[in-house]
Structure formats: structure tokens, C-alpha cells
């Protein structure tokens, strides 16, 4: 009978507790979704935008207006010199163009910003052509913009990985320490409930709830931005499951001794911060220097995100991700073993 099954009752209680916390639901489902939508819009619309630059009032300015003012590829703002240079410093404009009495132009821009460099070249080209320069040969462009290679496509598997990490760490680590502080762990210890069943009631739901956490985001991104899902659903589920296992273990380990909320918050930040930064959620982890790579590649989130990108965006098989899944499984096994040995009930 269901009302006499302790495992089921524990899970029902956790679930009710979760569903009655609107904040928890927002941070689990709403926040990652807002992030995908926000970042997706910010980075998908910048591709075809006109190049924006500031033009300093004075000699040569009217020639620039005549040449580029009607070109849809450029947006010109005419400013007094001081204003324009201030806007450049404040990053409100990429390039400032100043004419001179000799008929040439002066470009002000930040050379460490690749976007500014591209803009400078484009403005220079257009002005030179308007002044009569002839191209040596005609060139044409083929623009490639298929779903799967855009920033939003790159981002979504990263956010799914981040979400699964947060789910394991908060859903297990934080919940357990909270129960320890409230003396609930001790109270349960004094009942006939076997300890293994209790831990199962905490870890078990994670191995179900990773599915909505991962797929809610994936489906939303697929519908809104057309993010492709090239791998099979079963493969994606398996990769996410193994990732969730690793983070469930990590959450359990983080919670095994901590006696105070401050302690567990600190531990979780120490564990998660390096992965937020280095594991390639927002940009590829390969951008970090070579000597850091062995360390970064050993992090579970790096491997989870790599595997998710490979199966979601490239349609890779489960087998091809054996290395990543192996590292995740090692994390899971080691963490669970240590956590069960160290776990403090009271």
C-alpha cells in the first residue's frame, strides 16, 4: 500500500515541499529559460546588423555622409569631437572617424576588440571605393548561417549542463544540510527507517527530475530559436543521467559533514565556481591556456557539456562519448563512496 511505503512517502514529502516553494521552481525552471532567451536574442541578432560608427563634425564629414549615409550597411552618428571620443571610451561606439583638410581620414578604435577592427576595415573600404578605388577583381559572398553553429546553439547544452550541476548540488547538498540543521536527520535515525532508504529518497528523485530540468530547456530552445536536436533522445537522456549521477554524488559528498548553512554554501561555491568559469558554459573551455587543460578536462561539468554538445548539436553516438562518460562515472563512484563513508547523521 502506498501510504505504508516509507520510500514513496519520503519522496512525496520532498516533492510537495519543492512544489510549495515558488522560488525553488523559478530558479530551477524559469531562470535558465530566461537566460537562454535573453542570451539567445542578444547574440543571434547581432550578425547582420549595420556597422555603427561616430563621425566627428568638421572637414571631410559631409563627404562621408554622402558616401555612406544612405548605405544600409552603416549607421552614422555625427558628434562633436569630445563627445565622439567619450563615447568611444565608454564603449558606446566601436569606431570614431575624423576627416582632415588633406582629404584623408583618421580612425579611432580599440585594436584589442576584433569587432572594432572589422568595422574599421569595412568603413575604410567603403570610403576608398566611394573615392574612386577600383577592386582588382570582383568577389562574391556565400553566407552560411545554419542552425547548430550559432551562439545560441552553443549556449543551450552549456546551460543544460549548468542546470544539472545546480540540481545535484542544491537538490541534494543543500537539502541534506538543511535537514541536519533542523535535526530531522537525527529524528529519522531514531525511526525504523533504514538509512539506505532515506539516502535513496534524496538521491532517487534527482535521477528522475533531471529529465524535466534538461528537456524543458532543450524543448523551449528548439521551439523558440530552432536549436537542433540531432542526436537520439535516448542518447541525450543517458548522457544527462550519467551527468546527474556525478553531480548527485558531488552534492552528497559536499553535504556529508557540513553542520551549518554557511559551510555548505561555501563548499558549494568552491566546488561550482571553477566549473562555471572553466567548463565551457558560455564559451569554449578550449580557450583556456594549454597547461590548464588537463585540470579543466577532469572537471565533471566540462565532460558533461562536451558530451551534451556532441550528441545534441552533432548527433554523435553514445559510444563516441565513452571518454566523457567514463570520467563522469568515476566522479560518481568516488563521490558516493566517500560520502557514504563520511556521512554524519547527527
Amino acid at each position: 500500500m502506498s501510504s505504508h511505503n516509507p520510500l514513496l512517502q519520503l519522496i512525496i514529502c520532498h516533492l510537495k515541499g519543492f512544489l510549495r516553494e515558488p522560488e525553488a521552481i523559478f530558479w530551477t525552471y524559469g531562470f535558465p529559460l530566461l537566460m537562454v532567451i535573453g542570451l539567445g536574442i542578444a547574440f543571434s541578432s547581432s550578425r547582420d546588423e549595420a556597422i555603427q560608427f561616430d563621425l566627428i563634425e568638421g572637414p571631410g564629414a559631409d563627404k562621408v555622409i554622402t558616401a555612406l549615409g544612405k548605405d544600409p550597411g552603416f549607421t552614422v552618428t555625427v558628434q562633436p569631437r569630445e563627445n565622439a571620443l567619450n563615447r568611444l571610451r565608454a564603449n558606446k561606439t566601436l569606431v570614431v572617424v575624423a576627416g582632415s583638410n588633406s582629404g584623408g581620414y583618421e580612425f579611432h578604435f580599440d585594436p584589442s576588440n576584433p569587432e572594432a577592427e572589422v568595422a574599421r576595415d569595412a568603413i575604410d573600404d567603403a570610403l576608398q571605393r566611394a573615392a574612386g578605388r577600383k577592386d582588382a577583381f570582383p568577389s562574391s559572398e556565400v553566407k552560411v548561417e545554419t542552425p547548430g553553429s550559432r551562439y545560441v546553439d552553443f549556449l543551450v547544452p552549456g546551460l543544460i549542463g549548468m542546470n544539472l550541476m545546480g540540481g545535484g548540488m542544491w537538490g541534494i547538498g543543500f537539502v541534506l544540510v538543511d535537514m541536519r540543521i533542523k535535526k530531522l536527520l537525527k529524528r529519522l535515525l531514531a525511526t525504523p527507517l533504514p538509512r539506505s532508504q532515506f539516502l535513496l529518497s534524496i538521491v532517487g528523485p534527482r535521477l528522475i527530475f533531471f529529465i524535466p530540468e534538461a528537456f524543458f530547456l532543450l524543448i523551449a530552445a528548439h521551439l523558440v530559436f530552432g536549436v537542433p536536436v540531432r542526436g537520439s533522445i535516448a542518447t541525450i537522456v543517458l548522457v544527462a543521467l550519467i551527468g546527474s549521477l556525478a553531480f548527485a554524488g558531488l552534492g552528497l559528498l559536499a553535504a556529508s559533514r557540513a553542520q551549518r548553512i554557511e559551510t555548505i554554501s561555501g563548499i558549494m561555491n568552491v566546488v561550482m565556481l571553477p566549473m562555471w568559469l572553466c567548463s565551457g558554459i558560455f564559451f569554449s573551455s578550449e580557450r583556456f591556456p594549454q597547461f590548464m587543460q588537463p585540470l579543466i578536462q577532469a572537471l565533471p561539468l566540462t565532460q558533461l557539456i562536451n558530451a551534451l554538445r556532441a550528441v545534441i548539436l552533432e548527433g554523435q553516438s553514445l559510444l563516441s562519448q565513452g571518454f566523457a562518460l567514463g570520467i563522469l562515472l568515476i566522479w560518481a563512484i568516488v563521490c558516493f563512496a566517500l560520502a557514504l563513508r563520511w556521512f554524519r547523521w547527527n
Binding site: 501510504s3 514529502c13 510537495k16 533504514p194
Partner: protein, 315 residues
Amino acid sequence: MTHAIVCSELYKRYETGKKAVDALNGLNLQVKTGECFGLLGPNGAGKTTTVEILEGILEPTSGEVEVLGTRWGTTEDQHLRQRIGITLQETRFQEKLKVWEIVQLFRSFYRHGMTVEQAIATVALEEKRNSWIRDLSGGQRQRLAVATALVGEPELLFLDEPTTGLDPQARRRLWEVIRDLRERGRTVLVTTHYMDEAEKLCDRVAVVDHGKVIADGSPNQLISQLGGEHVIEFSLEKDTTNGIQPADFLELEPVIRATQEAEGFLLTVTQPHLAVPAVLEFLERRQGRLNSLTTRHVNLEDVFVTLTGRYLRDE
């Protein structure tokens, strides 16, 4: 009569860093089946440590424990836990669960027991059945904790300071619940630092101090150990004490014990109708002027003060 709890020579040492604290120093205890037994003592005396060892959630450094004829640490543990119910000094259930949900959860841990509704009715929480824990008062939370302790119909109940921090009305409610359990044949072990509570509830009490039982017996036995059953408390006007010492009163026939208090004197006497005139006559002789005088029955607090020289609430 059989014993529900027997423990002998319990020692418990807590090691924290370099410091070691001895919480229990050879504690002996016997609780008979079917009685309500009180563990009395100030904070830090070792009551909670004792109870948690008896409940099997703490291991003693050394000593023997037998609960319902069984020792902890065997394959029988889960079975033994089916037969006991506990409340901790403090448990905070999840704020956003309802009363009946918590009771149902704890019911699911036990093979046998009462229904969820019976358990809620036993602690008189029917009206709060569908309330979130968040909305319960302190007394209601304690009664819920008791409900989770008795939903498995245990033979033996441990209640660790169930009434601490409750208002008088909530305390009396909880006393009714505990008396009711005792009447239904349950063995109850309750810890408290309220003397009146122990006197009203318990068949027998043990006074614990510095990790040892320093006295045990029925409340009446302990009180009669003092020799007298009445206490006269009085204080004198300032400047009229005239060097009167507590020991001076011992020459009066009915006075058994005399101590000085911050505010005045406290005499333990056998026959108040003889003692009061004797004291008044004595004071007249020594030209002490009374500021106040009250008489009352001896209580467990007096027992504790006599045994330890300290008040329960001193710590």
C-alpha cells in the same frame, strides 16, 4: 515487575580538539515497565546525552544499556526501533508540509500503529490537521512531535524536554497527553528541568547532576528524604538581622535544615504549627523584625537545592 530500561555505569566523553568533556560519569538507571519516569536536572547535567544513548542514536564511551530487553548495535536494532518512539529536544519539520502529511510520513516507517487520524486526535491537533507546520505555535509543534513519536504505538516513549519554552496552558495540554499515554500502559521516560512537571507527571524520578544520578525514587520519597515536609521562608528588615546565622535555628525542635538565601532564610521543618511560633519567639528574642514570611510544601526544587547546593536555573 520487569524493567523497560536498565543502564549501568554509563560514561560518555566528548572529544573536541584538545578539550575533552565528560558528559556522563557512571550513570545508573532503571525504568520499570509501565511507569512514567522523570529525568531531572539542570541544563548540561547529561540528561539529553543519557536519553540519546538509550534511544540508540549515540554510543556511550563505556557502559551497559538494555532497552526492552535488547542491546543496541545488533541486527535487532531496526526491530527495536519499531517498539520505541521519541521526541528530540528540538526538531523542525519542513515548514511547508501539513500536519497530517508529517504524521503519515512517520506512520509509514512503522509496521504497526494507529491511524494518522488517531495520532492527530491523541495530541488534540484535529483543528490543525491541514495547516502547514509554518503556521503552528510552539506548543502545537511539540504536540505534533509527540504525535510522530506515538503513531507507531511504541511500548516505550522518550520525550526530551517536551514542555521547554511552552506557555503554561500549552504545558498543561501536553501533560494531559503524557498522562493519557501512561494510563494506556506505555512506559514513558521524560526529561525536564521543571520540578513541578516531574512532581505532577512522574511515578519516579532520578535527579541527574554532572553526569550522575544523585538521587532517585518517587517524588514523595525524595521529598521525605529531606526529613521535613514543609518549608518556611522568611526575610528580615534591613539592620535587624543582628548577626542571626542559619545554624542558630537548628536549636529549635521542629527545624531540620536551615539555609541562608539571597533574600532571607529557608527552613525545612516537620510541624509547621509548632515551627512558626518557635521561629517568631526566637526572632523576638534576637530583636529581628520580619519583612515577609511564607510557608509551603517541600518540592523537588528543594530536594535539588539540598542535594547540590545550587538552584536548577542557576546554569
